[in-house]
Symmetry: C3
Subunit: 446 residues, 3 copies
């Protein structure tokens, strides 16, 4: 019941006790009958007394009900929702708290060369606490229990937001720099178990400041960043950077999307002067980098530029990105590395990829397993390529084709199987080798 | 108020507004008096008007109360319970979330040889988030903040379950392989502060798949497993294994139990080819292994077989296990190691060990401290022995006697004192030594 | 509505159905009119029947409302509050659970010598679960995700309390030894981003037992402690200690305080026999210790003595501490190190430092940002000095002046900027050097 209704209801309750009160016709009748001489004075007196007492009782009774109703329908402070995790918010929206997380359980079987060890892994095991404080402020802390190490290495998001401006959010803390559609899309929601080869140029999470705005048809974000959580400078200045991303989505409704994006990311290497780019065969369990520049020294800074395009037409989606990285060295020539991927997917069960202001979100099956349905089933295909050879750096070049099947049993569960065929590695430590990967993932996330 | 009652109540409320409405006798009376000529036409008109208006007001009033009552008694979405941790579930049972944990605070004093350093330790400090999603699915993530290290070493449970079949649960993720009564019993609930010497043959937690069924008088579980969370294969295939356990409890009621169990656990060592078995003096603070095979090379695989028996007769309990491990080597003869323990306990305060379909659970004192009682007091005695000598491997042999006192102040609190007398170490690095251990634990768990 | 009111209300509801029931005057009137011959016997019969039926309906209706009201106003089990984190307690107070935390996001710019690397850091990222069990027992587990390492290094608080005695609390587990006003004050609430130079003599957290009492005008705490969480003895006995602190606050109301304190802390080094005292330039990002004794060997034990004084007069506060540490060696002369600081602060916005029985607590702005205000603004000034030179140990001596600005946007948010001018380092590795530090912090905490 909203407040207006409650006020009206209270008013009605109150009005029932006023002048032409409920049952006043009996008093009128008694008066008339007395006037008309139908009841005696003595009878009239008794009736009046009884009437008065009964009215008093009735009023007390109504008052009691009124008080109990007010107690029962007072706006309770906190609304609690459970969907696996739990979210709570005050009725006025000034405060909220959400506890959620994800676990990704992986297994992989490798063939071809180089040797990669078959095995299992918990790819990510994250919990987060996120919320709103005093209307305008937000916070988040997310930790990855599967990616631990010294100096807080496992900290993913850790930030404060200010949301008091219309259409503009300020953020300070540790979070992803605004770069690349596939990076902005959570690992819970990317199409395949691992991101494409050009993720070697991921801008990653750093401690920094960002301003952003997200509209239905466009978004803009820009920020300045220090180094990552686990980096410890000692006597040397840590690295720092600048990053910005713009997206434009001329078509964006529930089942149709056309998205374009441009990202820029500049990193100064601080007093360390090194950079390194490397990539596994779109797998993570064995940990073998099939292409790897090794540590490049004498690096002043480098600039990543990324182009994005994506489309959704009902159950069909397509997405492609090109990323180039230019490395500026104080000794030796400048270096240029690049890569791109293109991918498509189709939902047999009729769902659509879910786009949310600059990134893809989670899938809600039309009918969940456990509630009479078979969940959502999606087939995906990807080609990706990465070139880490330039000048004196022979990091190797690789390209691969991935076939993937996703089963979203419920909005909180996903099971995936991927087959990755690395077509060929050229150059680098694994020249002419062609590993294949079959990997499966079981995931809960909320 | 259940739904039926609410419907009846609503019907009654509604019925009060229908044809022979509440107070309709007054209208009848007025009509009669008018017919009988007791009130004039003019008076009759006034009475009718007043009656009509009052009826309308009364109906509005009733409607308002009806709406407020509906609002007040709508099935609230989430039921919250606090018992130290917190559990929440939706009224329909489709979703639930539980946040709980345990902390074990230990101190130990050592005497005899070898030298073991007196000290303190947080043995375990775990939090878990566990729940139900969309009726048929479950999840859990549990982390041990006291057992941290790189690559997610501290992750204990991390899994998904499917509970949509009658009497059969499927589980995928990281969890304990089904082996050994004392291993299946949580560290919160085992009789002594540390498990018996044969825990050297613990099957432990691995990432895998398991099917299980648990009935009142028997249970059966079997699964296939990869390697442990923190193992990183690199170029080598990780180890894998198969495990199964059957239990039979011909007697199993609140205060009586007779339990038999058989466990099998096979491990292939993958491309690592090594195995190691070791054990401390049923203590953990100093970290000295009094028996230790060291790393055994050229191991293809090994098989553990475990036999279990347990009984509860009111406040008395007894439990014994025998475990043997056969190591199959590609170079060198096969090896056989084994061990067993037998233990008994008695509650002075009348409680009984709490058996739950294949393992022991927590103790609820008859009267809690803080609520007028003294909690539950239990005395325990154990003999255990472990033989890690065979063929060319001289890991040593040890046997020990443990006397333990447990005080369960409340269902969530436990304080324990253990005295462990290692009778003799034979062979291995500590041949002929006889250490003693006195250790205490303070534990909260929920 | 309290229980009494509910009972009265129920009684009133019930009474409405009794003898002189609501509307009984109509029955009286009908009887009178019948007696007076105004209605015929047939009419009287019809009226009575209608009246009876209507009364029955009315009673059923009232009973339904009564039942629904009882359902709606039953005491719900758990009260939930959200203030960023979340706290829940049962209505009877027997159980409670609180989930909270803090994140401190730092950036620093260094100048002068020695070289210190500019950079960023997550200084602390903590979550805690804390609660009450069965009335008299409490627990807490707090982990610092930014200070991780092996063997549970990140565990901050992990303890059990017993609160069943009047005015006396028992605590077992890992927690801060009772020593130093600035140490007892949470890092969320200390005046500057880092504690003063004499924090080199911090007594820190250890696993132990403590008894304490906290009154309006005084507090007393004493305990025995083992070693810290991450220390692993192996064959050597870990260190242990004793600690006590007494405070006296002759003036202590909402806006005025006069506080005196005395702390003693004794540490035996166990079989390790070493001690080390060191300190950074009241900064943490670069990690350079400007004074450092290095590892001192042959140490039997050492004793810290601390003197505290603090005052609050409305928006003004002042605080000073002197700490001396006497090191007793088995080889070499005894050593004496010491340090002190004095600081003052002023709230432009009229708030007062918040003293809670022996330590300072959090600031509640008079008007929050996001709720029409500008938060609380505080300026602080500190001088501190530390001398780590004695006998054969030349750890260096340093003194510094710090100017700080704190902005508390809401009770849960704090932004701080500090400028630290190290006046001079004398002796040690950085003799004659004078580094400056500018550092900023963004913090959420609840």
């Amino acid at each position: 019941m909203n407040l207006t209704k409650a006020v009206i209801a209270s008013a009605l309750l109150a009005s029932g006790i006023s002048t032409a009160y409920a049952g006043s016709e009996i008093e009128t009748l008694i008066n008339m009958l007395h006037e008309n001489g139908m009841v005696s004075d003595e009878q009239y007196g008794r009736l009046q007394a009884e009437l008065k007492q009964n009215n008093m009782s009735a009023n007390q009774e109504k008052q009691a009900i009124k008080e109990q109703l007010a107690e029962a329908t007072k706006p309770s402070d906190v609304i609690v929702k459970v969907n696996g995790g739990v979210s709570m918010k005050t009725r006025d929206g000034a405060f909220s708290t959400k506890l959620g997380g994800r676990v990704q359980l992986d297994a992989a079987n490798y063939s071809g060369q180089p040797d990669q060890g078959d095995g299992t892994e918990i790819r990510r095991a994250r919990l987060y606490l996120q919320g709103t404080m005093h209307h305008d402020w937000g916070y988040k802390l997310q930790y990855d229990f599967a990616n631990t190490g010294a100096n807080g290495k496992g900290i993913a998001d850790a930030y404060i937001t200010y949301n008091g401006f219309d259409d503009l959010q300020l953020k300070v803390g540790n979070f992803k720099a605004p770069f690349s559609l596939e990076q902005q899309t959570s690992s819970k929601y990317v199409l395949f178990t691992e991101r494409a080869l050009p993720a070697a140029f991921s801008a990653g999470r750093h401690i920094g400041l960002m301003a952003s705005t997200k509209q239905q048809h466009w978004s803009l974000a820009g920020g300045a960043f220090g180094d990552s959580v686990a980096s410890k400078g000692g006597a040397k200045d840590e690295g720092w950077g600048l990053g910005a991303r713009a997206t434009y989505a001329p078509i964006n409704d529930k089942i149709s999307l056309l998205h374009f994006g441009l990202g820029l990311n500049y990193r100064d290497t601080g007093e360390f002067g090194t950079a390194r780019f490397k990539q596994q065969a779109e797998t993570h369990i064995a940990g073998i980098n099939i292409v790897d520049t090794g540590t490049i020294n004498n690096v002043n800074d480098f600039l990543r530029v990324g182009l994005e395009v994506a489309a959704v037409i009902g159950p069909f989606s397509a997405q492609a990105e090109y990323i180039t990285t230019s490395v500026n060295r104080s000794l030796g020539s400048d270096l240029d590395f690049d890569g791109w991927y293109a991918q498509a997917s189709y939902f047999f069960t009729g769902e659509s990829r879910n786009y949310k202001k600059g990134a893809f979100g989670g899938i809600k099956p039309k009918a969940n397993v456990g509630e009479g349905g078979i969940g959502a089933w999606e087939l995906g295909l990807r080609y990706s390529t990465l070139d880490l050879i330039d000048g004196d750096i022979n990091g190797g070049e690789a390209d691969s084709v991935t076939l993937g099947l996703n089963w979203y049993a419920t909005p909180t569960l996903r099971f995936s199987a991927n087959y990755i065929d690395v077509l060929e590695v050229k150059g680098g430590s694994y020249d002419n080798q062609e590993p294949d990967v079959f990997q499966m993932r079981s995931q809960w996330a909320f």
